[in-house]
Amino acid sequence: MVSANLSGTSANLPGDERMREVGSVRKLLARPEFGAMAGTLLVVAIFVMAAGDSGMFSAEGTVNWGTVAAFLGIIAVGAALLMIAGEFDLSVGSMIGFAGMMVAIPILEWGWAPSLAVVFAFACAMALGWLNGWLVIKTGLPSFIVTLAFFFILRGLSLAVAVMLTGKTILSSNGDVVLREAMLVDPVVSALFMGHVFTDLFDTLSAAGWMAARDDGTALAIGVPKVVVWWLLLTAVGAFVLARTRAGNWILSVGGDANAAKNVGIPVARVKIGLFMFTAFCATLFAVLQVADAGSAAADRGLQKEFEAIIAAVIGGCLLTGGYGSVIGAAFGALIFGMVQIGIGYTSIDNNWYRVFLGVMLLIAVLFNNFIRRRYAMGKQ
């Protein structure tokens, strides 16, 4: 439809001898997520060769690394959109620990209903996200500095508040109240954040002999964990907003050139503060799902997650200076992460090589993405 319109217009114009046809392959190469997609294929190929017969790509193996990817993928959506808008948030990991505490403490210490505690945690975290963004905008300081401060403040607060109120840093029960059970009986929390979907489908498949089964006939892989559903949903929404909506155009312009955006009347402060709040939302979602999964909150949860989220976004094609990137790319970045982190255990390679692999991956991804962007998106040599 687009091309029909365009060719209709250009038919009236004289040809430009300085333009050449750009093929669909070049167009694919020009997409910011191309590097991450290629990287994912590469990583899959490596592990199929190194660990293809170990069960890594069986249903339960896939659920295994898919879950790791999903947790990271959730915060990578926030990190990617924020990075495209030209800022980044180092307090994501600390926010995960803090938000987990804000779920567990009200339930265990104050006897709140879990659903209310979850709403409270989201409200607290998003208020802190607002504060992060407001300080960045008002002071004009780099977000690196402001969120580095909150990296320490929130980690310290999680520890200090937990110890002050409960005397412990890992909370799973208080007297008769057990965190996991309390969350399980709350219909809203258990429906949204706990358990699996497609359990019946998996059981049917294993009964038919398509998937590994337990002794009682149910599937070895229970189902698709809800965290995966959240990840896919959030990625789809994020990608849609960025590509198709007015807000997406604003995010790109604010990150591309904040001054230009301001001059054409885009509310730069509102866009950036909103994205800091969204990043905090993602961190809280991570925390709630993790607390529900583990049955406990701990002050040291989410350690280094801010870096992992940023790495996933960068592998996914986000430019550190803003204005360019892709939410879908960040999802592929998270997928690479999950596969490498869990996949190494399936191979004979020592686990200690995981970080080495990751660092090398990051470096290659950035160099490759830079090359692709210059060569195909900007048309330079």
Partner: protein
């Protein structure tokens, strides 16, 4: 009804102890190209920002269509039909032509009658159409602005301002960073804009660019206006002479023996 679409009467602007503008009067007739000339530090930027609604003048009057206005933001100026194309052009290099064209004023359609989304097909069609009216051929509206030449970017910024209803176009040194051919294209564009009834304030320090397209000329020096001249009343040489501050130029010429302009 006033003959002037836009008037600054005796405008002064102070920044602390600095007198940036002192009693400047500038009157823009409907459908004319009015050149504002002055060397660096003459107060051109302050004058533009006053026109564009960034600064409120400390003294004097700002009139649009003969009515006094107090513009509190660039948005107010845009709503009154006064659009400013700054030197940085307010373009984002890593965004497509269509996205840039509609930056901040995205066309909206509703997906399934519900979800508001940016209308990319319309945006692309209009961007290509408006640019081709300006003589810029863009095959792919998804092309990044960073791949365009300086002159094309300037045209994009001007086409955008005109499309969004500018009656007065303020161009801040549009030819400053351009080569000879591209400057000529921008000058042609200014003439095209005038032919469409748009009034233009063309800021430059290059009299060679100003003289061929300008209908009248205001010279600014050290925050003061040195007068406004219709084209019939002043020659290019006189313009150059006044701009450079006559005597100063003469001294310079003597220093640089054998150089003529």
């Amino acid at each position: 009804m006033s003959d002037y679409i836009l008037q600054l009467e005796n405008i002064s602007k102070f920044f602390g102890p600095v007198i940036a503008l002192s009693g400047v009067t500038l009157r823009l007739k409907k459908g004319e190209v009015h050149c504002l000339l002055g060397d660096n530090g003459a107060g051109k930027s302050t004058l533009i920002k006053t026109l564009a609604g960034v600064h409120l003048p400390d003294k004097g009057q700002y009139l649009i269509d003969g009515t006094e206005v107090r513009l509190r933001s660039p948005r107010d100026a845009l709503d009154a039909g006064v659009a400013t194309v700054y030197q940085d052009l307010a373009l984002v290099p890593l965004m497509s032509v269509a996205r840039n064209f509609f930056m901040g004023r995205e066309p909206i359609r509703h997906l399934l009658g519900l979800v508001p989304v940016m209308d990319h097909p319309t945006a692309e069609r209009i961007a290509v159409e408006k640019l081709s009216e300006m003589g810029i051929r863009v095959r792919d509206a998804g092309q990044m602005v960073g791949t365009m030449s300086g002159g094309e970017k300037q045209c994009l910024a001007i086409a955008r301002a005109i499309y969004f209803g500018a009656r007065v176009l303020i161009l801040d040194e549009p030819t400053a960073a351009l080569g000879v051919k591209q400057s000529a294209n921008v000058l042609k564009l200014i003439v095209k804009a005038r032919a469409r009834g748009i009034s233009v304030i063309f800021i430059t320090h290059n009299a060679n660019h100003a003289y061929p397209v300008g209908d009248s000329f205001t010279l600014l020096n050290r925050g003061q206006s040195m007068g406004t001249y219709a084209k019939a009343d002043i020659s290019k040489e006189a313009l150059l002479d006044m701009m450079a501050g006559g005597a100063e130029m003469k001294t310079l010429m003597e220093d640089l023996e054998g150089v003529t302009i």
